[in-house]
């Protein structure tokens, strides 16, 4: 069974690189451009991993995570924040909300790939 990954970011160029990299690794990739869209797709697809940006229109990453955690069907889904917010306070806040990992932008695609692999191995 293919691993499912949901990429949530409003920057198409970033999404494009991530999509290419994960598809190459044989993931089934889903894309959302904001928080609300992410919740919709996650509910339908029950992905194994969600890469979540924080600064997004409509619903931000923190709020999206909170909503995700309410859905019991998603309790095994790993969530990784992918954000340009690099202050310690931001990272702590993200982890406290229940994210499994926090990667700051700019990131290395290779590192994201290995982290995700490890997490769902």
């Amino acid at each position: 069974m293919k691993k499912k990954i949901l990429i949530v970011d409003d920057e198409p160029n970033i999404v494009m690189s991530l999509e290419y990299a994960f598809k190459k690794k044989a993931y089934e990739v889903f894309i959302a451009r904001d928080g609300t869209e992410a919740l919709e797709i996650a509910g339908e697809q029950l992905p194994h991993v969600i890469l979540l940006d924080i600064m997004m229109p409509k619903l931000d990453g923190y709020a999206t995570l909170k909503e995700l955690r309410k859905n019991k069907a998603l309790h095994r889904t790993k969530v990784i924040f992918l954000s340009a917010k690099s202050k310690l306070a931001d990272i702590e806040k993200g982890l406290q909300l229940g994210a499994d990992s926090y990667i700051t932008k700019p990131f290395s695609i290779k590192k994201v790939l290995t982290d995700v692999d490890k997490m769902i191995a």
Binding site: D10, E11, N13, I14, M16, S17, L18, Y20, A21, K24, I54, M55, M56, P57, K58, L59, D60, G61, Y62, A63, A84, K85, S86, K87, K105, P106, F107, S108, I109, K110
Partner: protein
Amino acid sequence: MNNYLLIVIIVAYLAFLFFLAYWAEKQKGRKLVNNPYVYVLSLAIYCTAWTYYGSVGSASHSGISFLAIYLGPVIALPLWIVVMRKIIRISKQHKISSIADFVSLRYGNNRPLGALVTLTCLLGIIPYISLQLKAVSETFALVANETSYVDMGVFGDSTFYIALLIAIFVAFFGTQSTDASKGKRGIMATIALESILKLVFFLVIGIFVVYILFDGTTDLYQKAVSTPNFQELSSFGGLENGFNWMFTICLSFFAIFLLPRQFHVAVVENQDIDHLKKAIWLFPLYLLLFNIFVIFIAWAGNLSLPADVNNDYYTLLLPLQQGHTTLALMVFMGGFSAVISMIVVSTLALSTMVSNNIIIPYGFIKKLVEGNPHENAKSIKSIRRIAIFLLIIVAYFFYERFSNQLSLYSIGLVAFVIIAQLAPSFFLGLFWRRGTAKAAKAGITIGLLIVVYTLLVPIVVNALSTSSTFVEKGLFGYEWLRPSQLFGLDYLTPESNAFLWSLSFNSLTFIGFSLVAKGNYRERNYAEMFVHHENYENLQEGAFVWKGEAYVDDIKRLLNRFLGEQRTLRALTIFNRKYNISEAEEKADSRLINFSEKLLTGTIGSASAKILLASVSKEKPISLVEVLNILEENKETKANNKLLFEKSKELSQMALKLQMANEELLQQDKLKDEFLDTVAHELKTPITSIKAASEILEDEDMPVLLRQQFLENISKDTDRLAKLINNILDLEKLSSDRTELNIETRSINSTVKKAIQGVERIAMQRGAKVDFRESDYLQGMYDEDRILQVLTNLLSNALKFTEKEKGIIRIVIAEEENDIAIAVEDNGRGIPEEDHNYIFEKFYQSKNQNTKKPQGSGFGLAICKRIVERHQGSIWADREFQKGARLVFTLPKSA
């Protein structure tokens, strides 16, 4: 009425007063006793039996002249707000307990002067008290219907017992505290009640006489007109009588200040200086009410009673004639109330004066110095109690011997004339620094001698024998020395005559003596303190009036004797704490001396206090120059304090400003942080994209088309990065005013057209319509490149916020007085209400920090704002505009 029943009623009434006094004494600090109405009612002891009975008597045979006695106070009362305020302030400051204390302290705490004032008061007031007793006795007889007067001696006379009961009452409630300057709540409460009773009962009898015995005032007037001497009784009686009026008004004017009982209730018992404000209109009102019916009752009495009755008692005789015994009893009780309150306060005031100004300083001082505190307090109280009994007994015997020959009205006036002798030293002393003790003593003595000669001697002579050549023909047969027509003035009443001459000589002597020789340093210092009392209220214990050497221990021992160890210790602790003086201090300074003197003054009077302190200290003369220096220093300290106060106020204001500035800086700092965060975020986004793309490009298997796409992304993100950096730099440059503006006269129409051209391509892509109505040919003064930047920014924002294919953007130009206003409107989603105030803020980001705004909006508007402001224009978002967003900016018109 049965006289035993009457006695029972009187005793019951007195018992009730005892109870009331006892109860009120317990109400410490309650509003009930300490309020302006009780104060006003206590002033009403001015209305004695003289008013209650004597006014009617006087009105029945002399017409309206009785009114003069009430006009004086009515004229004096408005002055109280200034004069009485001053007197009360000084008295409270020095713990003064009587008028004798007041006068003697003013003249340097002069012991003989205090005694002289006391004697003057005794001379005036004892006969006055006798008269009150006479009124009780005679009205008692009338009500009890003792038709035949049987002399049963002193012990068979009910008046004697009543006098004794009053003495016990005063002795008990008047000496509760050894400090005579302390208020006597119990007594004041009973006085207030009595003042209400006497007024109410007098009004009741007035209404009875006018409306029941007669058919209203008109009826009474018409009947009275027919009496033989009516015309004479209802007029002022020409110029000569005019003088009598004037003198009587003057007399009563002085009396309201100087009568010991008035001084006592108005000054010593004053609890709050603000009570004066009520007194100055309520007390005249009281007097007015009291006098409304007097003349009518007098007419009624003249009309319906036989000619041989005592006119003074019309108020009793009228109801008795009609058989209204209860009403007569009410009138009697009203008069009795007037009598008791007068006697109580008079003896209270006089006994304090006698003990503090005569008995203690001239007899007991040595004994007191040796005694222990408990015994001293007891002896002081005993002295006062004995004085109270002595006064009432003397008054009683005076009544027994002399009063048959005199009317209430005339003895009242004699008392006033005697008391008026204090006026020059009292009033001039308050306002004239020059007055001296010697002058005061000489003035009062001369005045008294003239009163004795012109008024008392004729009265006594007339009382003892039927005729006297001396009174009728003058001393040694000189006509101009006739006592009642001194220096040939023959149209004045005896009282006016005595008043005129005694007071004239008294005043002249006082002024003359004062001008001839200055007083000693002590007199001058106290004069200064009384006349300019407001300067000294803040001085520490009036510190400057004493200079010399004394030891704290001696003073402590002295205070112990009179106050007891506990009170002394408490007082000294407070004193030390107040002035920050060490307990170990051996030498006493002037503040302690003055403080102690004041403490003792309340207990034993100022004269004795001075003697006592002199006994434990070596006083050195202090000159007025020194006094004035100290005053000057005090003023300087005050000025310095004021300066300091102002400075500290300034400082705290400055601190506040600094704090505000600091907060603003912090806010700026916070905004700057946020700005940097935003900048960082904005920069990181394209960098992330570039980095990710370049990593992906390492994959050699990537299809060519995709590879090209990634390369293109990298190039676009690099542009975005460059643009961002330029924006940031631009904003910073504009903010710090480093960029020069290239301002020229330009056509606004053409600038707008250029801007529209610049966004034409994007507009086409989004299918938006840009509508520009060219206005009249308008020229502005601006840097065209910069304004193009503003317009482009506003237009791209408008395009960004409108829906695809539906956007309509309109540019409207309006000419104003000095400016051109350019508005860019769109039909997009508009600006959220909460963002209106902030969209132009340099560092502002929407409230929700994590929700990204459409790209570029972070700096664009901030840059626009800076550019417009650099052109002296302003930029704002129009809140009224509902269809979308409407941003307006102004530019200066070309001249």
